[in-house]
Symmetry: C2
Subunit: 150 residues, 2 copies
DNA sequence: TGCTATGTAGGAATCATTCCTGTCTAGCGA
DNA sequence: TCGCTAGACAGGAATGATTCCTACATAGCA
């Protein structure tokens, strides 16, 4: 999704996040892609326009945006953290071959819940579903190539 | 679940894993607990009986057992990896306060699947469901105490 | 029992992430 | 519009879980 600066400013204001050039660039890059980039991917994208930006700023900004609820962290195995600019409830479909992550929007999955017996008194706030498999282009080779570690 | 050496030997043989003192101890510790310990937790448990065991051996053994399908890795956010000796299909309920992980066995959750439209040609091999919330003892304090990072 | 492929221990290396510190700036109030 | 100050940024150092390297030890077959 393409965002202009007005949109970003409005969202930041709504979530009480101070607007800076760096933050706007990082957030815009994240919302404009569906590829669930890592902090380092974002660093590489954003330094194309702002070569002075520090890798620390990317990490710090991502933690600010995450705490503000503007961004979500996605973890696949123990690979580096990846980020998602889509914070509406959704789930993920992950390729064990190339690591790509696709969004899954499905009302039924959103409605899953635990029986009270299973919940053991937990106050359950949310859930996530991950599907694992091989994408079309990895299917031909996945018997020959070992999956990514973890 | 309590395992004796015979059981372990049989399982290792079935999965083509060479039996050593170190491996038996690590695997036994993992199967006997329901707490989903980290590599370091296991190192601490196992060195009580075998003080010479190296942390590397724990990591290497866990990777051998994981590849053999005797052990499963559980990742919660970006905390250190945790391990599960229960490899039957099940899901997890995770406390955002103290980090404890409870097993959830539920046939309905096991049967989830994607519509072919959502699957985008993926060859889907499995899925995982994670529920997040606060356990009974963390519920009293969870408005005062900030959740563990991520 | 001896041989050899494989496992183990210990130490060094890796690398994503976090911490520290001095400088800079967004955005409020005057 | 200007000055102030809390909060943000950059750069470098530190951290810490995990992996790599290598020499020695051992499981388990012949």
């Amino acid at each position: 999704m393409k965002l202009d600066l007005q949109d970003i400013e409005a969202r930041f204001r709504r979530h009480d996040v101070r607007l800076t050039r760096q933050r706007a660039a990082i957030y815009a890059a994240l919302v404009e892609t569906t590829s669930h980039p890592s902090a380092d991917d974002l660093y590489r994208i954003v330094t194309r326009q702002q070569p002075m930006m520090s890798r620390n700023t990317v990490y710090y900004t991502l933690s600010v945006l995450r705490n503000a609820g503007l961004v979500r962290e996605v973890n696949v195995g123990h690979d580096m953290a990846r980020y998602d600019g889509n914070v509406s409830m959704h789930h993920h479909l992950i390729c064990l071959g190339c690591g790509q992550i696709m969004d899954v929007m499905d009302e039924e999955l959103n409605r899953l819940h635990l029986s009270s017996g299973q919940a053991r008194g937990f106050d359950v706030l949310g859930h996530r579903v991950e599907f694992h498999g091989y994408c079309v282009s990895c299917q031909q080779v996945h018997r020959n190539v070992s999956p990514r570690r973890r």
